[in-house]
Amino acid sequence: MAKISASVYTSHVPAIGAAIDLKKTGEAYWQPLFAGYEYSKQWMKENTPDVIFLVYNDHATAFSLDFIPTFAIGTAAEFIPADEGWGPRPVPKVIGHPELASHIAQSVIQDDFDLTIVNKMEVDHGLTVPLSLMFGEPDAWPCKVIPFAVNVVQYPVPSGRRCFQLGQAIRKAVESYDDDIKVQIWGTGGMSHQLQGARAGLINAEWDNRFLDRLIADPADLAQMPHIDYVREAGSEGIELVMWLIARGAMADVNGGAKPTVKHRFFHVPASNTAVGHLILENN
């Protein structure tokens, strides 16, 4: 039986990818940020899963205004890093797990979550930056990845509550897969940031840290928070944080199991326009 072993949460700021690709990680500006992921890279080496179910948002890359799926699961055999306008990131292509992805789609859709199934999709920094942060710069990603894209670009975006419920359905789906494999679920994006208008540059470190506290200790309550609170307190792009609730909803304690162990917690301001938050929670 497949098992969710852990969940990982991280911001996916594009400038972090650029810093890695342009060999700037040792610069004074970036050093404190990357230092916060040293433990994580070591942990990943010791806890490499078979598959990562990677929740992220597409930033007007695979999905233009032609199609705006609320939840899209990548069922392809591979996913190519996209050219977002600066040229594609020089990172390995992403190898999918079509069998598990299709199994999850079937289970979750029959559980009343109407996913969009995507057989061809390029992936942007939202997916590749977390991989770079956790794995460094390997020639090939050391495990398979199922991309799961959430619309947080055009309103209405899904509620935190819906995301949290979806995470629970994903856990159930993974645990009903016959092969004996280890799956991690990652929630990415955030934390507080706003990329637009006179309010650009908004950061709310106090709110972010309370979000981390609540995500660990009482995610069901956190999931009730309405969108407008994210916008007001964490900036218009802070809404990405609803995606963290999908990963958190897939953890065992939400279904009556043991509380997860907090293996790592990190917070840093700034990376470009953004507050960076990072957690590793292990199931027990």
């Binding site: 006179a198 650009a200 540059g201 950061i203 470190a205 407008i228 218009s236």
Partner: protein, 146 residues
């Protein structure tokens, strides 16, 4: 019934909803085309001619030519789409975001290094934070324009 919009009283912020998306459809789709290197080259070679291939409004074209991202957003642009214009110009997200505040690049970068813009006074229209309409433009870049 009209769309419920609980987010219109946040200062300095335009939420990209269905109304904005409808208004900005061709502007944003033009931006998407810049994800291809060949299109970036054609755009850079003759911006006006390239824009004229799209059924955008004249105002949207002027906003793009002026590289005024606030103006682009008012006409329906979304930052993740507009970022393709910045990428074509070799700009970072920080340079793009900063350009919407009236600050110079250095001023904006310094604000971020010092912990970013505070939410205090910037949660609701009618307060007096630095993102409020009565306190624009911020910084030296905006003031130079006056």
């Amino acid at each position: 019934m009209a769309l419920d919009k609980p987010y219109t009283d946040v200062p300095g912020t335009i939420i990209f909803d269905a109304d904005q998306s409808r208004k900005g459809y061709w502007l944003n789709q033009f931006c998407m085309s810049l994800m291809k290197a060949a299109n970036r080259e054609r755009f850079k070679a003759d911006e006006r001619a390239y824009l004229d291939e799209w059924p955008m409004t004249e105002e949207q074209k002027q906003a793009v030519l002026a590289r005024d991202l606030n103006w682009c957003m008012r006409t329906g642009g979304n930052i993740y789409f507009l970022a393709k214009i910045g990428a074509t110009d070799g700009k970072s997200f920080q340079q793009m975001a900063g350009s919407m505040t009236g600050m110079t690049e250095e001023e904006y970068r310094d604000m971020m290094i010092k912990g970013g813009r505070s939410a205090e006074g910037n949660r609701y229209l009618g307060e007096n934070g630095d993102a409020q309409p009565q306190n624009q433009p911020q910084g030296a870049a905006g003031k130079k324009k006056d």
